[in-house]
């Protein structure tokens, strides 16, 4: 926890914060845990660990601040410390390597800009979910935080402990990669220029 200020909540206040500020985010948090671990059992453990940790460190949560961002940060850190090593991540690639590759200009040139809205509208199955899950975890994460959960860039920077500029470029790359995956599906579905 980075917060230096610690509150001294009574038991009653703790319970009220936990129920009113933490529990309402449980579905978003579960989804985040599941998308990170890609395993329902690991997701359950990660979610449970995170909520118990949140309760244990409740004194470092300041009321009136963004509880959702605070919780997401704990979950992300727990994932990195406890789950990332043992999770079924297909890629064991060093992140730095991935980022420098995707930051090269080549990637932008490869992007097929012609994925069409009609093709997306026909993706009524789990295509997009599979496409999202297939992205490297760091790219997957920024899409979840921004497009699914609606966090602002500044909040994402705090959750992920990275500069805002990195949030922006990572998000941009992530979306290009997602579109690439979706174009592949669209082609398989028979859209010619997708």
């Amino acid at each position: 926890m980075e917060e230096v200020i610690r509150e001294q909540y009574s038991e009653q206040e703790k319970q009220s914060i936990f129920n009113k500020e933490f529990m309402p985010h449980i579905n978003s948090m579960y989804n985040f845990a599941y998308r990170l671990t890609l395993d329902p059992d690991d997701a359950k453990d990660l979610l449970q660990d995170t909520y118990l940790k949140a309760y244990r460190f409740i004194d470092s949560f300041q009321q009136g601040t963004n509880a959702k961002a605070w919780l997401f940060r704990i979950l992300k850190n727990s994932f990195i410390n406890d789950y990332r090593k043992k999770s079924k991540e297909p890629s064991k690639v060093d992140y730095q390597e991935v980022e420098s590759y995707y930051n090269s200009e080549d990637v932008d040139r490869q992007i097929t800009p012609d994925l069409r809205v009609e093709a997306l509208q026909d993706m009524i199955g789990d295509e997009i979910s599979v496409a999202l899950n297939s992205l490297d975890v760091d790219f997957r994460t920024v899409i979840i935080l921004c497009d699914l959960e609606g966090f602002k860039y500044e909040e994402m920077a705090k959750i992920l402990d990275i500069p805002i500029g990195t949030v922006r470029s990572r998000l941009h790359r992530a979306r290009n990669l997602l579109k690439e995956k979706l174009s592949e599906y669209a082609k398989k579905m028979g859209y010619k220029n997708a």
Binding site: M29, Y30, R175
Partner: protein, 90 residues
């Protein structure tokens, strides 16, 4: 955004990478009012690739929201509540 006259639009964008970044900032709610107005009024309605990109970005976001969210299993939720209330009681 009004419906632009498709026949009068530019077919190529000379600035597509920057435009896409601006488009995403606007949709993410991170652009200033000025940037937003300038881009939407001065550029988007006249540029076919950007106009298409706009609709594509919107469609992807909608698809993500409808297809990539989930609910925590009720048993798990109950279990978390139970564990915390035990800690409170102890």
């Amino acid at each position: 955004m009004n419906s632009p006259d498709l026949s009068k639009m530019k077919q190529d964008c000379s600035n597509s990478k920057e435009c896409l970044e601006m488009l995403q900032m606007i949709l993410d709610g991170e652009a200033t009012t000025q940037q937003k107005e300038h881009f939407l009024k001065e550029h988007l309605e006249q540029c076919m690739p950007c106009y298409k990109n706009y609709h594509l970005e919107v469609a992807i976001r909608e698809l993500l929201k409808t297809k990539c969210t989930s609910h925590a299993p009720q048993e798990l939720v109950d279990n978390i509540r139970k564990q915390v209330s035990q800690k409170l009681a102890s």
